[in-house]
Symmetry: C2
Subunit: 229 residues, 2 copies
């Protein structure tokens, strides 16, 4: 089953859907009134922002270049955000909201088995980062230049993800499925393994490793490290 299909029951991760959610989240800051116009333009702006930023960094992307890439004028851009920083916040919000929404949605048949739950979390996280790859790369690379509030939210969001892993690990340890001393430490090591998928994507692409193969490989690696295989 292709990744979009496996992910599909949990939401729509297309660019337009993301633009729609971003519009809803920032309706008050966006001057364009008609939703279908706003969503379409917003999608082009977000798309162009991700493209330019992931090449040279958000700071180095000029709004003139963005305007040209998105097919708008300088002034036109400012109908969709009230400053460059808001554009950053819009994208970040979409990433963390998508991640939090998905990971909390584990199906019941998986929740009962810590090993299966853990594998599900890893797989879904990887598939999500694949479906929203430019968003995830952006959020990861620009994390250091976040404005203070967004930064705090990003750290909190990552801590929340880690807490989900830690809880499953602790549950598994209690049941004797995982042989580990420190669930929190083990949980901390899982995140970077998932992040490596989208951070070093070209490396894996060159080796012909797909998202599913990567997710499976990481699951196996982690489960063996936890003494579950």
């Amino acid at each position: 089953m292709p990744p979009e299909k496996r992910l599909a029951p949990y939401g729509d991760y297309s660019l337009d859907a993301a633009a729609g959610r971003i519009l809803a989240r920032h309706r008050d800051r966006i001057r364009t009134r008609k939703p279908h116009v706003a969503v379409a333009k917003l999608a082009r702006i977000i798309e162009a922002t991700l493209k330019l930023s992931n090449r040279q960094g958000f700071q180095a992307m000029s709004l003139r270049d963005l305007a040209e890439a998105a097919g708008l004028s300088m002034g036109g851009l400012y109908s969709y955000f009230d400053g460059k920083e808001t554009l950053l916040v819009m994208i970040l919000g979409e990433v963390s909201s998508a991640a939090e929404g998905l990971l909390a949605a584990a199906p019941d048949e998986v929740r009962d088995d810590p090993a299966a739950h853990l594998a599900w979390l890893i797989e879904m996280h990887v598939l999500l980062s694949e479906a929203m790859q430019p968003f995830f790369v952006f959020a990861y690379m620009e994390a250091k230049s976040f404005p203070a509030p967004a930064r705090k939210r990003a750290i909190a969001s990552e801590a929340a993800t880690e807490a989900i892993f830690a809880k499953v690990l602790a549950e598994g340890a209690a049941r004797g499925v995982f042989k580990i001393d420190d669930p929190d430490f083990a949980a901390a090591l899982i995140k970077p393994l998932i992040q490596d998928w989208y951070v070093k994507r070209p490396k894996y692409a060159k080796r012909g490793v797909s998202a599913e193969v990567y997710a499976r490989g990481v699951s196996d690696f982690v489960l063996r490290a936890l003494g579950a295989r």
Copy 2:
């Protein structure tokens, strides 16, 4: 044994020593003739660059701010480099040269045992990144904005590190010490675990995890995943 002590046989990772090597590497671009003056000033410049960059990013650091933090004038700075990009290249070169130099220096008693060799590589890599923490954070965070040639070198340097891991893993697999199908894939997963130490340092500091404890934890995790424990 404290980390500097364990690392000591393999080189001097102090700021002044790094400044000395950087000076030697870029003698032709640096106008200041007297080495002891040049090394001292260069050390202050590098130190200030790492401090300011790791807060807001290299691009966002202005040379005026750098001059003030380093205790020089704008013009004074330009006796030590011929452009902002050169400053970037100087620091990157020091990081990759330190990493490559150290990892190739495994002692003989460790080379014979794949598991010990792997543990040594992981530990030394973590301790090095601890001793040169601002350098490593800088190199990692600014990787995307490298000028093209430096970027290629950084990717090559990372691939070289990974190849060292892969070789040890393949050797261990051949001897039956490691139970793995794909040494290259496993090698790819080790790097992000090491990087997490310096990228997410505050998280581990808050939990009271030291460099040695982290290195040991990662070693154990990896060796179990490889079926060696």
